[in-house]
Symmetry: C2
Subunit: 476 residues, 2 copies
């Protein structure tokens, strides 16, 4: 009995450690009892007891007739960050000066990049992309110096259309327009759907780039109640639409920036139904979706779009090459025409050379091979950074591990000030982004966003420890 | 006496032929009498008589104490196109469907490209640019995959600032923002200076891309009386400003598209003074200025800008590599800040790789070497196409040879229809752009624009002859 007790505990500990290291990931299915029994030469009972032990620890859950799965968001002993359930009112976008310095600091290579917005170059397929570029001969150069059509190169649009089969019902090449990155896609979608003074509903908190853009376009922002784990609260949205004249929604349903929230399929479906009912278009920024830690790429809102109201924007900037400035927008009908005309007027066409390099990279089947490795690295970085935060930050801090993306959204104890932490961290050579940058409300003064865009390392761990000390010192 | 008569006539004919072939260009100074006398071993009187003969032919002119110069705009026996001196009224931009097909056809490689908007790849420094690109090693790749700051790479902004020394008084790097081509520069400048419903004054006719953009931004257009040779008529502008509420001007003072008009320095100075008086900003699109056939690059409106009201937009698209999508905007003060913020919101940053390649190209001193050759080729193309038009088109057609750019603006006899010619030419495998595409008025129904973007060749000559026949056949 003692041996068996030791055996199942040892097995449970081994699996736990695989989970903690990120080798098994939230949503992953554990091997069936019988398969593990055969593989390890243990009794069925030992394996079963190990699984029960893991379930008791809150790490796995049994699903009827399907087996055991790694539980989501339960890898830490910390509670998830909280959020405001009461809808805000439409506001003019006023941003503190900090937002400008945040962007500059996020690009500063001399800081430990916990405020970065893009992956460390070490993680990118530099050699492969260089090889494609160096393979360009003078004979190939002529068309690469010319404009592509303003909707983008047909070859790249074909590749993207193929990639979106199954994600966007009935997708055709003509629905896809290539843009200068996802930001241009979003900006043109906003221009195509709004007039100055209109109200745009966004998650709260939201990407500060969205807030800056809304300000520049003279649009009002309406922040929606948003769960840091599961995204926009649909009841909150309904209430907002009843009480306000919202012109368009601008959302990130998949691994939202800054929270990492992922809307479930049923919530997405419900959201699209509510917006269809109210006839309100929604711009979905899908830029982080390919960075899913679970097995499946999450669905698009556009999956449920019956009326051509969903405008999907994305790019390769967060997974492949930010500096390439190639993104795309998927839209239908009049709004698609309007976006294409705006694209032609605003920047004629996306850069030809990068469209060529990306087409080539996709044609070689290199993207999915690369993404499999990348996701594992990033998940590992995210998990280890989260562990380090749990270790270093004071009681009352809250954090959950997202199911994708590369960010951690941290609620500090209520007495702490995220903006002060941001400034003190800069003095220690560390960039982070204070929660205040992501909202026009004052709800997020004691929140921060940490990026996990570089491999976890001693300097990163030391930086997290320094942040923890800086937070603690605020209490003194 | 007969010998001498023969000698001076022969010399005059030789010089005339050099002018007609484009070896001597408008604005060029002829050698002094004494130098030519020494060089050719002729009498001073023979040389003098030859120059007088050329002057009598209207090809050269004597300037007091400076010598003899090739006259501008007098290489053909055709009269210049005419224009409307009476200002129009502000209009909503409505464009015929033809404008859309015009863009598509201008990119169609199967047509003789007399409607093209960019240079034939054969004229571009393909080998040099390929060499720079192939010189990129995996070690250099890391920063090239990342974003540059949204205002652009410092190295390229330095190179451009250096290039604009003497053109823009007191220019600093901080005044220059890199954009995704000149079209983004213009679009952001419009967004930064207007609200929906505002009136924007443009040349008449103007670049159809401007009209499309004004339409998409919900702006009204006010077409200004514009001389095909010397650009905006300042008296007309004054009258328009008295009678209308113009928010901003959008002009191409140097080799205007579609007419090739070049404003003189004094007219530019006067225009800036009028706008300063009225406190109206002006966006100048300078994209064709480097394609000057005379010795000097023409000045910018910004040269006379005392109040930071001039916003200068340009790019390398018309001289180097359209598909690179790298342009820039030079602005000051609040409007510059606004444009930089819009740039960050709209497309984050321009593509990094092309900024690197262009910086390298400029650093090697390659641009000016290349431009010297390019200008000679393009002038030759323009001149030969103009000669071919003079030969092929019916009596009553009007045309002048521009002093730069790569376009010919042709007024057909009043009974002819440019749009019908456009459609009939397409059937013959030739692209042109009908005058109607460049205006919201009905003044330009019997005008066309021909581009001279490819080396003059038999197919081009044949296409011009076909166009001439098509015009003639309209009279039957």
């Amino acid at each position: 009995m003692e041996t068996q007790s030791f055996l199942y505990k040892q097995l449970a500990a081994d699996i736990e450690s695989q989970i903690r290291r990120g080798e098994l990931r939230p949503g992953d299915k554990l091997p069936s009892l019988r398969i593990l029994q055969d593989k390890l030469g243990m009794s069925l009972n030992t394996v079963y007891q190990a699984y029960m032990e893991l379930e008791a620890m809150g790490l796995v859950e049994a699903q009827a007739k399907s087996g055991f799965f790694i539980k989501k968001n339960r890898l830490l002993n910390m509670a998830a960050p909280r959020f405001a359930r009461k809808p805000d009112r439409p506001r003019k976008v006023r941003l503190s000066d900090i937002t400008n310095t945040v962007v500059a600091n996020s690009l500063n290579p001399d800081l430990v990049p916990l405020g970065a917005s893009t992956l460390s170059p070490d993680l990118l397929p530099q050699k492969h992309l260089t090889r494609i570029m160096r393979g360009i001969t003078p004979e190939m150069m002529a068309p690469l110096l010319q404009y592509t059509p303003s909707e983008g190169s047909l070859e790249l649009r074909r590749k993207l259309t193929f990639r979106m089969l199954g994600l966007v019902p009935d997708i055709r090449e003509r629905d896809v327009t290539i843009t200068n990155g996802c930001s241009e896609a979003v900006a043109l979608a906003l221009l195509a759907t709004t007039d100055r003074g209109d109200v745009v509903a966004v998650e709260s908190p939201t990407h500060f780039g969205f807030l800056q853009l809304l300000r520049e376009l003279g649009l009002l922002v309406m922040e929606l109640p948003t769960d840091p784990l599961s995204g926009v609260v649909t009841e909150g949205l309904s209430q907002v639409l009843r009480d306000n004249k919202v012109r368009v929604c601008l959302l990130m349903p998949n691994f939202q920036n800054p929270m990492g929230a992922l809307m479930t399929d049923s919530r997405k479906e419900e959201l699209v139904a509510i917006l269809h009912e109210a006839n309100i278009p929604v711009i979905e920024d899908d830029i982080y979706a390919e960075m899913h830690f679970g097995k499946k790429r999450p669905r698009l809102l556009k999956h449920w779009d019956q009326k051509g109201l969903v405008i999907t924007c994305s790019s390769f900037s967060k997974i492949l090459a930010p500096g390439f400035r190639v993104g795309w927008v998927v839209a239908n009908g009049d709004v698609a025409d309007r976006i294409r005309r705006l694209k032609a007027g605003f920047s004629m066409a996306a850069p030809t050379l990068q469209q060529h390099v990306l087409t080539q990279f996709l044609a070689e089947g290199a993207l999915d091979r690369y993404l499999r490795l990348l996701r594992a690295s990033v998940y590992n970085q995210v998990l280890k950074t989260a562990m380090a935060v749990q270790h270093a930050f004071p009681e009352g801090s809250r954090l959950s591990v997202p199911e994708g993306g590369n960010m951690l959204w941290i609620e500090l104890p209520s007495w702490a000030d995220g903006t002060r932490l941001y400034q003190e961290a800069l003095e220690k050579g560390i960039s982070i982004v204070p929660g205040a940058a992501f909202s026009t409300t004052d709800h997020f003064g004691h929140y921060i966003r940490l990026s996990c865009t570089s491999p976890f390392s001693e300097p990163v761990e030391a930086a997290v420890n320094t942040l923890g000390e800086l937070v603690r010192s605020q209490q003194l």
